[in-house]
Symmetry: D2
Subunit: 347 residues, 4 copies
Amino acid sequence: MLRTGVLGACGYAGGELVRILLKHPETRLTFLADEMFKGRPMGDAFSSLKGSDLPLCEPLDPEAAAEKADVIFLVQHNGWAMGVAPKLLAAGKKVIDFGADFRFRDPGVYAEWYKLEHTAPDVTKTAVYGLPELKAKAIQSASLVGNPGCYPTSAILGIAPLITNRLIDTSTIVVDSKSGVSGAGRSKLELGFLFSEVDGSVRAYNIGAHRHTPEIEQELGELAGLPVTVSFTPHLVPMVRGILTTAYASLAGKADTASLIGLYRDFYKDAPFVVMLDEGDYPATKGTLGSNYCHIGLKVDDRTGRVVVVSAIDNLCKGAAGQAVQNMNLMCGLDERAGLDSPAVYP
Amino acid sequence: MLRTGVLGACGYAGGELVRILLKHPETRLTFLADEMFKGRPMGDAFSSLKGSDLPLCEPLDPEAAAEKADVIFLVQHNGWAMGVAPKLLAAGKKVIDFGADFRFRDPGVYAEWYKLEHTAPDVTKTAVYGLPELKAKAIQSASLVGNPGCYPTSAILGIAPLITNRLIDTSTIVVDSKSGVSGAGRSKLELGFLFSEVDGSVRAYNIGAHRHTPEIEQELGELAGLPVTVSFTPHLVPMVRGILTTAYASLAGKADTASLIGLYRDFYKDAPFVVMLDEGDYPATKGTLGSNYCHIGLKVDDRTGRVVVVSAIDNLCKGAAGQAVQNMNLMCGLDERAGLDSPAVYP
Amino acid sequence: MLRTGVLGACGYAGGELVRILLKHPETRLTFLADEMFKGRPMGDAFSSLKGSDLPLCEPLDPEAAAEKADVIFLVQHNGWAMGVAPKLLAAGKKVIDFGADFRFRDPGVYAEWYKLEHTAPDVTKTAVYGLPELKAKAIQSASLVGNPGCYPTSAILGIAPLITNRLIDTSTIVVDSKSGVSGAGRSKLELGFLFSEVDGSVRAYNIGAHRHTPEIEQELGELAGLPVTVSFTPHLVPMVRGILTTAYASLAGKADTASLIGLYRDFYKDAPFVVMLDEGDYPATKGTLGSNYCHIGLKVDDRTGRVVVVSAIDNLCKGAAGQAVQNMNLMCGLDERAGLDSPAVYP
Amino acid sequence: MLRTGVLGACGYAGGELVRILLKHPETRLTFLADEMFKGRPMGDAFSSLKGSDLPLCEPLDPEAAAEKADVIFLVQHNGWAMGVAPKLLAAGKKVIDFGADFRFRDPGVYAEWYKLEHTAPDVTKTAVYGLPELKAKAIQSASLVGNPGCYPTSAILGIAPLITNRLIDTSTIVVDSKSGVSGAGRSKLELGFLFSEVDGSVRAYNIGAHRHTPEIEQELGELAGLPVTVSFTPHLVPMVRGILTTAYASLAGKADTASLIGLYRDFYKDAPFVVMLDEGDYPATKGTLGSNYCHIGLKVDDRTGRVVVVSAIDNLCKGAAGQAVQNMNLMCGLDERAGLDSPAVYP
């Protein structure tokens, strides 16, 4: 049985990862680390894990992780993984990073948006952007995966078939995303994330300046074969989990809703976690809660010549921990769906 | 004191209207009608009104309304007001309709989007589209006002200054709106509006087909002096009140955020209910809850050459009942702010 | 592999049952029935099940169920199962009823609280009240189980150790429960369950008159060996899932918090789904969401001589579908935890 | 016009107070202070107040307050007011304290529950517990009022008529309260108040140990003429505003629901903010949101010999700022309802 380790187990993404790995049929959680909860059981961090049969949290020590685990998930702030991953890789480990350190092919883009000099640009060259629906092959042979951001996951899955098939004018893409609050993480004790501030309220933030923008542009640009620039606006919505992304683009030629849906189904025919909805049906984030699925619906608007694509995911699962496990499955030769095929909790 | 009457007092918009009129300093509620609650006190429909000093609900009888009130608010389904308003106007009443019957200058547009033949096209010609920030003068001399829809109110207020000043390419407008659930009304007992279905979920609906689209296009087109077509996508968000509209458009020339904010402030300098936020500040619906204010923030995105405008209102207040009272104030020569200047309830 | 069938698959409890059975390692869902969705896939009823590998819904036909399944779950309104269960039992099936028909040992109690004459009192005598933590033995040899109500599950698990150990004055029990809205079911399209009415609001209902009262009293009375009467007040809270029950009783003698917690741990030492919290720690429903666990905390209040016990469950899981599967596991000789040991989704 | 000042304007209770005073017809807000927002406009603290015509926030300086205002509201942490109020009183000011410093007649009780030595016991003797429904006379002639806690307001209003009329056994009182999260205040940036932790969850806290307990006991004891001890359990519910208190007590003799309701109506006949519901009707917090009203419903349960009383308030309004203004009105000879008679915002 594969041994797995988590460096940063007690944030929301880390906790979701532990929840999934705890029931994974082919792996065993052998190492958990979290600075805030070191020496304590996971149940102290998440009441949902009280009584679970899990190792105690240890300090955030990559060497201990390397000793006790074969696959190691890094769930820390941006800039942390680039100092740690090279050593783990050198020790022959498979590494999946939840942060942005290994998502960008161009270190300059990383430096520009994250205001951090990359200290391991060579290692980054070996990393694969871990969106299995687009890069399954590369992931299967990778030792280091940069696990995508939550917004990019929903946006890229929604738009990729259009670009690949040259159906839209790539200069017209608008990406409007609505996210639950858990994406802000657990340690961010800011006024704006208090229940009394969030409940009953929607707001936009970081307009045109969110760090997930270059990720979307990099992947869409690769598919297009030319640079792509998108308008991306994230919104905070009064719910805990879920991202709904509504993407707009002008069609390059004539197209109708039914044929585009058919084209999406074909594009994702080997993607077990993408569910393409019928014409007239649009996704709700509720249908994906706690699951690794991405639901997509679309509509061609003849009046405006635009196509509108709506995609829904659970930001902590397909948008973070679930996708990381999907990547692990591919990297380790397991069934891509192992540990991930539970349907959403509904309602 | 002006006597006011409400035909349709016990839906959410009607209830909000009663709440506002109850404390209006220059008018008195003298007639309330609702088919479902006829013969009963308003407190039976809204526990918030238990013990209030209000007339009992009567049957939905326009003649009784005309007898007992000077200004009459019609808060019924689309298609109802066009049969009733002509008689009320003939009796010398001022009429404000919450439905769509008197919003369109072109009866063909109404027929196309609402699938209803208009039976009072002549009267419609005398009606004014009741968005006071754009049409205060016309409203002041009107006897019949078509009170705007909630989505159009937020969208038009957000975009109007850009079009009036010829700053954007009007073929590039995308309007992405996020609404609370109260907009669906109280009588719509559908599965999709149950708490268990709405809570924790965001979804898009009626993509490219929502009836508020032609309203937005009519008003923006009038400002532009040419036909305008917009991509409009409404979303349902797990909150009761509030609409946040995010509008995107390509700039016709160079512009920066600060100068556009200044231009908006100038545009709305006589509009007491528009609050223009500072650079870097974007509105949250929470800041408008229960109030008649519209908060607007914007950002010029140099990377994409687009401007992004975000506007927030309370859909039941500025998006319906509050705006109706604002219209009444103007129609009757009262202070535009009378009964409407309470700040939002926060948090 | 055991074949399972569900009569009533498309309400909230039915959907939860399908969600659990879909991943059950020892059984296979071979029959699904629902009148509203007959002929259609489960994904039409629950977007979370779109794309799942499940049989289509059939009409509500017990004979078809008996042909295709070995264990049959009845998820219909009260009064339905007593006409159906006898035939299924005669056909050698194991039957688990989600309704109240087979919960009461005294048909008079059923008639009094449910206003229904029982038509199968003899069969009822063979039924077991399906609370595994108290009746595992009897359930193991039962063919018919009356699956407990959601409120009684939380209340009885919270109070049972106190009564069994003769620690409280049974005439002083007050049970105050707070429930999410999904307990009202999916077909009840009433004003009171609309999002706009529920959100931001707590209310009590059916005070002293809720039909779950006699269930609580029956089971506590059996443990006490004498009739027990409780004050039970259910409340509706603005959340989808979860019940928190706060129970109060006067202590018969001296006791302290730590020793009572120890006594609870001993009482539930063989109950895999009861998690007893440490002193000073009280449960939140969030810690049980989507899981079959029941979290219990307690406090002895020396000032008043009362003990306060707080128990949390997911009403649809441990309070309905999860418990039903737990009962099936026992009835069929499977591991009590099979298909049920996933931790809660958090946050 | 009376000049009012607020020391601590930018917490939730302070903001609610400013919202109310801004529209008060007989007073003018002339002094606002808050350490965190000194030198800045209220709109920086609450987006709902952007554009309002209010003085800037000043430092927390009681002398400046005394110079600029006649009535001064102290909205600070417990222990702060006892150092400040004596000077303000000496300067001839009317003082209303939102904290606990002047709520207790016995300084020993204050010391025991708040772990603070009282430094102004003599001034405390002149203070009145500001629950106008019970103490209107005393408040009218008071210069210093200890504004009640939110939980005690709901509990005492619910139980007072029963005790005053000797209808219950005062040793059997159980008070189970469910509160929105805004009661925790705005500055408490704790994990437990993050949206992701609160949403979808109910929990009990401080069982038998909440500091509002002695307040309830003091006031009920005074009405009873003997010491009263109650079991009080506060709960956190996923909503922003509102408290619902469910109180249980054994009836001393026979009583029926209708007659008790009549008795309550008589008891509160001069209380403009208490709304007594009809038999079979129980309050929801939603009916009181943003208003100063308290809704009460009750039920006699013949089976158990207990009466169950349910009371609902808005914790920030009737439970804090609204009640403070009601006290000011009485202290200053104004109409008790001035500035407070707006109905709740619904839905």
